[in-house]
Each structure stands twice: as structure tokens, then as C-alpha cells.
Amino acid sequence: YCYPISLGGAELLFDGVKEHQVTLPSQSEPWDMKQLLVWIQRNLLKERPELFVQGDSVRPGILVLINDADWELMGELEYQLQDQDNVVFISTLHGG
């Protein structure tokens, strides 16, 4: 399964790379957002994890869009990923 992930403003923590094509290892249950975050923290996040994740979820101030829709409407952490789902993380804390 392949998921394009892109970062708006948060790319500083990911070596400056904005777009990532992520292929998650297959497992018996479908991947959900909670697991994706753990995966991202382990495999993509290059520094300062506390600026991106907080506990189980993303740090407040980071907007998460799944297929261009607010993840709050999709169940947030419980949302189960489907093949080719596009996930965007936008840092709303930066810039004015």
C-alpha cells in the first residue's frame, strides 16, 4: 500500500523534504492514523519529535488533511488508511 504524504511548514523536521511517498509494511489489520504517526516518528522524522507529535496524536497546531478533508471529519486517529490515500500535515503555527 502506498500513501503520498506531504508537509507544509513541518518539512524542517523531515530533512527539508516536503513530499514523501510512503509504503507501509503489510499487516493483518488495516493501518490507521495512529499507527501511521508512530511509523512516521520512527522512520521519517529526523529531529525534534516533540514539535510534531504529542502523545498519541499530532501536536496541537498541526492541521491534518486526508484526501483534502479535515481529519476531524474522518475520525482522526481511528481513521483507517486506504491505498493511495493522500495525507497532508500543515503547520498552522508558522507565519502570518
Binding site: 496541537p60 483534502d68 479535515d70 476531524e72 500543515i90 498552522t92 502570518g96
Partner: protein, 410 residues
């Protein structure tokens, strides 16, 4: 304390939000894609309408920008100011509903000198922004922060008015404008041709020295903010603009509001965070993005491909406790995540304080750094704080308490 209209009961329970129908609350047809505040879900189309309408309504309601006026847009490259630029572009276009009628210009201040960025990095950012500005067709000015050393000492004085402004009401001005400009639109001014930043190395060095000598991040941020503001006002004045538009969004202003109280700038809250800021006299500062939350701006920019440039600043990648501003930001955003009416509640304070502020404006003289009113108040605090034992140095009377603390770090 403050009265809040919303009922908190439903908001802590996440499940309730999810079990609502996911249709847009406005058109009730299309699927909702964004949640603003609690329970307000919009589809993409309705959200765009709401976003655009809010901008025009903000300007129209406040009636402070007259037709044909020259307005300088302060763009930092961040999402809010770029969104503001985008809205101005859309608003001025021929077929816009409730067309905007002023003449815009853009200004960008490169703060790389204070941040210790290399000339190449700065030039790269400037090039990116320049291509963005060129695409708008508006005249633009790109200045390094180093120019702050060339500011005349009279930056606080109003420039003499070049022409007599007739004393007409807003409505009359609009009517007059429509009649005389029935068939033509405001042609944008010729774009300035810039080939790069003119940075004097000695100035950069001085700038770095100043910032380097400041021990706390809080004081650095404060100084940067002040220098930037002075340079913006000077630019507006010297290039003949009468209004300055800043892109501060609602979230940022709420944070600024609380942080200001911590920093001893409580007396200036209203003008620091209100819609219009009249402290400079001839240049009026407006904040049209003030009712947009950071989330709304980010979402809109993403959905409608509004370009912005990511530029690191003093508190990039710093910890939560690095400065007062950072801590307040962290506090507000975390609270906002669970209590969506946090920001709007903080905001309502401003309206109340604004009324009080206008009242005291009459009697006190201005401080020179923050250009805020309250000379009398400053003296009282000053004496009580026992900073100077009975001595009245003229210089110290010119600073408010907060700026005085700031300069003690220099």
C-alpha cells in the same frame, strides 16, 4: 468574568461531533471537508465563499480604506499575509463581487540579518518571493532589515500632508469614486525593477551584534517586532502610502494579546491587536485577517493553491519554554484543541479594552519605542518599581515599562 454564548457540554465529547451528519451546514448538499469551531462543517465551495466574503465584509464594515487610496501590504511570506495578498488580488479583479477599490503595493522585509542567515540564503528567499510578487502585478518593495539604521530620527513624526484631504464621509467618497470611474478600473502601478538586496555588510554586522547581545529570546523577538514595525511605517510614509495592511490572523493575535499582558504591554493591547491602529498619525495600520483562525487560512491556502514561502524566524524549532511568546502560543493552541472557543473568547476582550483605551488616549504623551500612549502611567509604575531612586532622567521618561525592560538587555 467574560460571558460566553456557547454551551460547553457537547464539545468535550468527540464522538458527538463524528455522529453528526457530514453534510455542509450551509448548502446541506455537498460533503463537508472542514470543521471550523465546533460543529461548523463546510464543504469546499461554501468555505471559499465564506472566506472571501469575510475579507470584503471586514474592509467594507470598517470603512477605513477610501477608494483610490494607496495601501501597502506587508507580506512576510507566511500563510496569513500571502492569503491576504491573494484576497486583495481577487478583490481587485474586474469581475469581483463587491470589488475592492484601493491601489495596493507590497513590502517585504528581509530579516535574515538578525537571524544570522547567509547572503545566499537570503537572496534565495528574496528571489522566490520576487517571482510571487511579480505575478501579482502590484508594485513591490523588498528591503533588508538593515535599513533600520538609516531611518530618520523623525520616524515618529507624521509627514506633512502633501495635499489637503477634503473632509468627506466614506459613503460620499465611494459614490464620487463610482461616478468618476464608471468604466475604467484602477490600473496597477508600474512594477519596480529590483535586482537584489542592497545590504551593507557593516549594518548586518551591527544588527547581529545587537541581537547577539540580547540574552533572552523574548527580548529579541520584541526588538525584532519593533524594528520591523518602524521600518514598515517608514516605508509606507516615504513611498506615499496612507495605509498599511498587516496579515496577523486571529490565532496569532490571541497569542499576542496574552503574551503582551505578560510582557507589561497591557495598556497597548487594544491597538496592538485591534483592527485599526492609529498611533502613527498619518499612517493607519489595518489587520483584515484578524477574524481568520490559523486553521482556516492554512486550509484555504492548501485548497486553492495560494503560494507562500516558508521562512524560518527567531523561534523556529525552539522548545515550548524558549520565550514568553512561544509558551503562550503553546498554551493557547493546546487549549484551543479541546475548547474551540478559546481564541474567540480571548478576542472579545479586545473589544472591551478598545473602548477604555480610546478614553485615556487624550491625556498622555507617547513613548518613543512602542509609540504607545501612556506617559503618565509609565511614570507611576516606574517610581513604584523603585528603578531609579528619586532621580528624573529625561531619557527614561520616554520608555514605557516594557520597553524599558527590553533596553536593559541591550
Amino acid at each position: 468574568m467574560c460571558q460566553v454564548d456557547e454551551d460547553y457540554n457537547g464539545q468535550l465529547d468527540r464522538d458527538e461531533v463524528l455522529s453528526f451528519s457530514k453534510k455542509c451546514v450551509k448548502c446541506k448538499e455537498a460533503t463537508a471537508v472542514l470543521v471550523i469551531r465546533a460543529g461548523d462543517m463546510f464543504c469546499s465551495g461554501c468555505f471559499k465563499e465564506y472566506f472571501v466574503h469575510k475579507f470584503r465584509a471586514m474592509l467594507g464594515k470598517n470603512r477605513i480604506i477610501f477608494p483610490g487610496e494607496r495601501v501597502l501590504l506587508a507580506v512576510s511570506g507566511g500563510p496569513s499575509s500571502c492569503s491576504m495578498l491573494n484576497q486583495v488580488q481577487e478583490g481587485l479583479s474586474q469581475n469581483a463581487h463587491k470589488k475592492l477599490r484601493f491601489i495596493p503595493g507590497i513590502v517585504y522585509i528581509d530579516e535574515g540579518g538578525a537571524l544570522g542567515l547567509s547572503v545566499e540564503e537570503r537572496q534565495r528567499t528574496v528571489d522566490e518571493l520576487q517571482s510571487m510578487f511579480k505575478a501579482t502585478g502590484f508594485p513591490y518593495h523588498i528591503l533588508p532589515l538593515e535599513e533600520v539604521f538609516d531611518l530618520p530620527s523623525s520616524v515618529l513624526e507624521e509627514s506633512s500632508p502633501s495635499s489637503e484631504q477634503p473632509d468627506i464621509t466614506y459613503k460620499a467618497a465611494v459614490d464620487h469614486f463610482i461616478q468618476t470611474n464608471r468604466n475604467c478600473y484602477l490600473s496597477p502601478e508600474k512594477q519596480a525593477d529590483l535586482t537584489g538586496l542592497n545590504i551593507q555588510e557593516s549594518h548586518t554586522h551591527s544588527l547581529q551584534q545587537i541581537f547577539g547581545s540580547i540574552k533572552t529570546l523574548t527580548a529579541k523577538e520584541d526588538l525584532l517586532q519593533t524594528l520591523r514595525q518602524h521600518l514598515l511605517v517608514h516605508t509606507a510614509r516615504s513611498k506615499g502610502y496612507s495605509k498599511l495592511m498587516l496579515g496577523d490572523n486571529c490565532t496569532r493575535l490571541a497569542v499576542k494579546l496574552l503574551a503582551s499582558i505578560s510582557l507589561g504591554r497591557g495598556a497597548q493591547l487594544a491597538i496592538d491587536t485591534g483592527f485599526s491602529d492609529l498611533r502613527y498619525g498619518d499612517i493607519i495600520t489595518v489587520r483584515p485577517m484578524r477574524d481568520y483562525s490559523a486553521k482556516e487560512v492554512s486550509f484555504y491556502n492548501h485548497m486553492y493553491n495560494v503560494p507562500s514561502v516558508f521562512i524560518p524566524t527567531l523561534d523556529t524549532k525552539t522548545t515550548d519554554k524558549a520565550s514568553v511568546l512561544r509558551l503562550t502560543e503553546s498554551f493557547v493552541t493546546k487549549l484551543q484543541a479541546h475548547f474551540p472557543s478559546t481564541v474567540s473568547t480571548i478576542y472579545r476582550l479586545v473589544g472591551i479594552i478598545n473602548l477604555l483605551y480610546m478614553y485615556i488616549c487624550e491625556w498622555f504623551s507617547m513613548f518613543i519605542v512602542c509609540v504607545c500612549v501612556g506617559g503618565g502611567l509609565g511614570l507611576v509604575v516606574y517610581k513604584q518599581g523603585g528603578i531609579v531612586c528619586g532621580q528624573k532622567s529625561l531619557e527614561k521618561h520616554l520608555y514605557c515599562y516594557s520597553c524599558l525592560r527590553l533596553t536593559s538587555f541591550l
